[in-house]
Amino acid sequence: MDGISITLQHYLFLAALLFSLGVFGVLVRRNALVVFMSVELMLNASNLTFLAFARDAGMDVGHLPALFVIAVAAAEAAIGLAIIIAVFRSRGTVNVDDIRTMRL
């Protein structure tokens, strides 16, 4: 068979890559919104991992976590955006570097 066959490992690798990208985004991006989106990326990496394993094992039930996680992520987005708006209102910026009144 020529060409590349897509196996479980590939999905997992992609998920790990997404996860790492998400972590990287959380650590280095300065805009709070982008940071938040990076967290979503991490959640989706987990979803992908769940789905890949579920397909690999032929378990239909394994797909359910992804659905729940999407729902949870939506709730998280709602509260997260509200908080970011509150931050913006109180100081006019959403740059993570500037949100550091409390320290030491």
Binding site: L12, A15, F19, G22, V23, V26, A32, V35, F36, V39, M42, L43, A45, S46, N47, T49, F50, A52, F53, A54, D56, A57, M59, G62, L64, P65, F68, V69, V72, A75, E76, I79, G80, A82, I83, I84, A86, V87, R89, S90, R91, V96, I99, R100, T101, M102, R103
Partner: protein, 523 residues
Amino acid sequence: MLTLPTLTSTDFLPLWPALILSAGACLVLLSEVFLSSASRSFQPLLTVIATVLGALVAAATVFSVPTGVFGGFVVLDPFGSLVSLVICIGVGLSALLAPAFLRGRQAERGEFYALLLFGGAGMSLLVLSNELIFLFINLEILSIATYALAAYLRRGPRPAEAGFKYFILGAFSSAVLLYGAALLFGATRSTLLPQMGAELARIFTDPTLSDRQPLAYCGLALIGAGFGFKIAAVPFHMWTPDVYEGAPTPVTAMMSAAVKAAAFAAMVRVFLVLGRGIPGDALLTGFSTLAFLTMIGGNLLALPQRNVKRMLAYSSISHAGYLLVGVASLFVKSGTTKGGVLGVTALAAGATPDTAGALRGILFYLLAYTVTTVGAFGVLGALERRDDEVRGFAWDLDRLAGLAQRKPAWAVAMAVFMLSLGGIPPMAGFMGKLLIFRSAVDAGLVGLVIVGVLTSAVGAYYYLRVVVYMYMRPAPEAGGLPERNLSTELALVLSTVAVVVLGVLPGITGTWLSRGGSVFLGR
């Protein structure tokens, strides 16, 4: 084929506390819609009633036989019931602190109490979860409620900043935990904890499955990190001081008391069930390293703090460290000879570590810490002045100077809480430390215990500094008296009495807590 499950009343038994708390939350929310009157004093009352009812129901299930219900998703066991009880106590006491605090800031709205109760329901469910996704959802329920509560006040930049930091880092750690769950799912092909535990045991014994070992270890490490964030263990602790400082004080009390108890209990359950099949000292090494770092880090960071609220935040980190000593002693296996940061002395072959005793110690510590910390934050919250709060001066040690003259009863209460946190007899904190250290010594973790005793000697310094300021510094001239409030003082009296009684007569919890050792480990 999937069949419809037959649910009996037993299936609902463990859920009752959460159901009651949720119902209370819905009632509070509804009242907000229908009654727009200025009088909202019934809302905290309703909240407290809900928590009391929840506590009573939880208490009623303490003597149940451990079983799995709802197809194994939820457990009914004394350990879970007792932690639910502690959570209800923590949430109820925090709710008592809220009315005066919110009234002073013109922020009395029903959402606050509803969020508090929803959070409580999430916590109660979290400790009963026996399935990873269910556990994740409950963790998110409680987290989302707490994120909102942390940012609840719209005064100055601090609450929003606290909410933001808590949210970003919390979401990050949840994602980490979820990814860990996914990896573990891959390794074990299940999300039910008991099945996963059994499968893990197979992975570590069956050579043909050994390629899944890295997956399993990574998953466990990621889940551990996720819990490490919630319980504020070093190095996952850094959000704690900032969030605790910025959040409204009753919320801080709830976070450090109830949330911490719930996360600890869930962590203990997950690792107890999963850890059975893991050979060697991996878990022991992990937990004792965490305990070591957390005890030292928390105490050292608290030393130079003049901001009492931040100091209490660091103190909550150090207490997580002491609790982790207890957790580490759960994972000492018979016949092991090494491991842990400071070594484990050999246990006799065939002698099994006293897991029940260690769990009892952890439960007592959680209870003692809950009542103590709620009280301590309660005193702080009552002393805050709004004009200073925005700039963050409200919690300087000077604010407590001469409290003994201005408010002798409050000073006594605060001194009791400080002594308890410092682990000085005859307060509850001392008894908790004693129980935990005792079970750790029994398990052979002598090195960790020595670190624990030494660091709590360090801790006595900064706790007693508060006492010194209250009793041995003159009061500032312009220090107006804080307002009295019935519910705040009720909370303070209740927690003071609890701290002293638990310290002097820990035996009264005896028959209850001795049930705490029975954890449902799955079929």
